[in-house]
Structure formats: structure tokens, C-alpha cells
Amino acid sequence: MTDALLALVRRDLRLAWRSPAETLLGVVFFLVALALFPLGVGASPDILARIGAGVIWVLALLAVLLTLDRLFQHDHEDGSLDLLLLAPLPLELAVLGKCAVHWLTSGLLLVVASPVLALLMNLPPDAFWALPLALLLGTPSLTLIGAIGAALLLGSRRGAVLTALLVLPLYIPVLIFGVAAVDGVVLGLGAKAPFLILGAIQLAAMALAPWAIAAALRLASE
């Protein structure tokens, strides 16, 4: 079982590695969209520092949302999803493996890029560890929750827009506590609770989301 899971993870990683343009799309969007904010709201360092954490988190949500379609879309089109459904490996586990790879090639890149964004938004020094840490705890939940939406909409007529409608409302708790964690550190209010809640959301998503994703995938290939 572990062998099959590892083989799946290796395959997905290799696929991501061989189409770097697609893999880096999310993080490039993250950077480009951020550049719009200083131009839009004015480049005053105070304003940027105040809204920085929130803006970066919102962009992280959107960047993950942009990359969701590559989770199952290709596999659905070329038929490998059907093989995955037939395989002896439990689908819930396979889904968890696919989500892990998706996070490694989307969320983790955002975590790595986030200190640069914090610099661009003139965030105080404390944010340089708080923001990546909050993203590290929060982005896996984004992948898992988003995967439910992506799986539900496989083969639908208006996939992309609908994914946003389904997934963004469910992202709101992660956003709230993600920003609260960074602001708590930056403003010195204490950030233990939001960090713990981010972790709790991630654990709950890891335990529950694979069931919903697997159910949606079975439905998609009926």
C-alpha cells in the first residue's frame, strides 16, 4: 500500500517538475498581483504595513484557487483517474497523496516566497517568521478544502467560476485566523490561539476532506 502511494506521489511530483510553467503559475500570480496593491492604494509604507498581512493572505487564497484545476483535471481527461479508482489503494489515501503533492507544488512555494512579499509590503521584522509560519499551517487546509470543490466540479460546464463560488466561502475561517496570527505577532497581542486554531483546521481538514473528495471523484467517474 505504501509502495503504491509513494509511486503515485513520485509520478505527480515528476509531472509537476516537467511542466514548470504550470507549477510556478500560482507563485508568479502571487507576486504579480501583490505589485498591484502599492499602485492601487498608494505606496505609503504605513498603509502597506497595516494592510500587508491581509493582502498577502487573500492573494495566497486566490493563488491556491488558481492552481486547483490541475489537481484532478488532467487525470480526469486522460483517464488515469479511472485507473486510480480501480486500484487496490484506498481512494481516500490516494487523494491525500495527491493533495500532498499539490501542496508541495503550490502552498509550499507561497510559504517560501512570502518573506519577499512581506519585504515588499514593508511589514515589520516579526512578520518575516510569523507570516511564513502562518502560511505553513494554513495552506495545506486551502489545498484540501479546495480539492473538494475541484473534485465536485470535474466535468461541469462552468468549472472555473463555480470553483471560486464554492471554495472561497469555505476558505474564510483560514483567512480570518491566518491574518489574526500574523497581526497578533506584529502588534504584540499574542498569537498562540490563532496559530493553534490554524493547526486544528489543518488536522480536521486532513481527517475529513479526503472522504468528501473521494466521494466526489467516485461520482465524477460514474
Binding site: L153, S156, R157, R158, L166, A212, A216, L219
Partner: protein, 242 residues
Amino acid sequence: MHALANPLRFQKLTDAILPWVAWPTAVLAPIAFYWALVIAPADYQQGEAYRIIFVHVPAAWMASFAYLAMAAASFVALVWRHPVAEVSARAIAPIGAVFTAIALFTGALWGKPMWGTWWVWDARLTSVLILFFLYLGYMALHDAFEDPARGARAASILALVGAVNLPIIRFSVDWWSTLHQPATILRADGPAMDPSMLYPLLLMILVAKLYMLTVMILRIRLQLTERKIANLRLAAEGRAEA
């Protein structure tokens, strides 16, 4: 419950229930509105504006109750492939969405004179807004596929996923110190409200519930009939071709 899976039996059962919910709605609604809007005393602090709660509270309760009913129907539809449950969940969604919209709208109307703002991003308001988006997402997902059965089952899964929002709405006023006041009616030490205002409010809630049941039954029957017509049409076309 399996007896209900037969649309014909469902039709018979609702034939029996319908007058018992429709007539009380028609009779009690004017009484409740008159009691709440005219007879009930004005609040010593908020004056007449507090009467908005007689619409706001029932609408908000029905908003989450409708979601609970929708999620339960979706669960039954997913597990037992119960055709009437599937139709019911789809029929409840717009009712719940409208009640949620009413709750949000009346809340904003009340918030302007009382809090000085139409909207605040506190936990209760935000979670109810999410509820509204969930209803919209459910309906959009339901109609997003060529194959209606596929849409119905996908939407059922979404309804169950979205059910995590319900306890958040219920307890948001206790977990976070919000601008929205904590529970007034359902609390351990009894309702914190004067009977002269509590009874009309309870009657309004009863009317809202009866109204919802009436509309729900009518909508489910409408959808069942629509399905039947579609099937008959398909059958007729099949015969014409053969």
C-alpha cells in the same frame, strides 16, 4: 422512511399534511404580525425600532433550520439514493436562501439605528453571510452539469461539507465576543425577555416554521411533478421514434 421514497405515497401523505400547515399559516400570520407590530409594548431603550427582531429572529432561525433540513435530506439522498430526499434538498435551498437574505437585510436595517452601521464583520454576521454563499453555491452546483443526477449528487456532498458552518453560526456569539448579542431565548437559565415581547416572538417563529413547511411541501411536489412531466415527455418521444 423508505415508504416515503415512493413519490405517489409522498403525494398522499402531503395531501393529508398540507391543510394542517397551510391553514394555520394563513390564520396565525395576521394575528402574529398584529401582536408583534402593534400590541407588543415599545422597548424602553430601543423604542419602536426593536420590532425588527420579530422578523429578524424567525428568519435567522429558519435560515439555519432550512440548511439543517437540506443537509439531512442530502445525507439521506447520498446514502440511500432516496429520490424524494434528493428533490427535497433542492426544493429547500431557495427557501433557505431567501430566509438568510431576509435575516441579513433586517439585521442591517436594525444595525443602522442601534449600532450606527449597516454591517460589521463580526463572527455571527460573517458566518451567516457564508451560509448565504453556501446556499448560492449549492444551487449553482446543482444546475452545473449536463446530467441532472450528477449535479444533484455533487450538490448533496457540498451541502454536507457546508454543514460544518451550522455549529459555527450557533455558537459564534459565545465563542467570540461579538457585537451581535448572545442567545436570548435558548439559554440555560430561561429566556431573558419579557413575556409581553417573548410570546409574540414565539408566535412569529411558529408562523415562520409553518409557512416554511407549507412552501417546502408545495415546492417538493412541484419538482416531483416537473420530473414526471419530463419522464412522460421522454417516454412519448421514445414511442414516436419506435
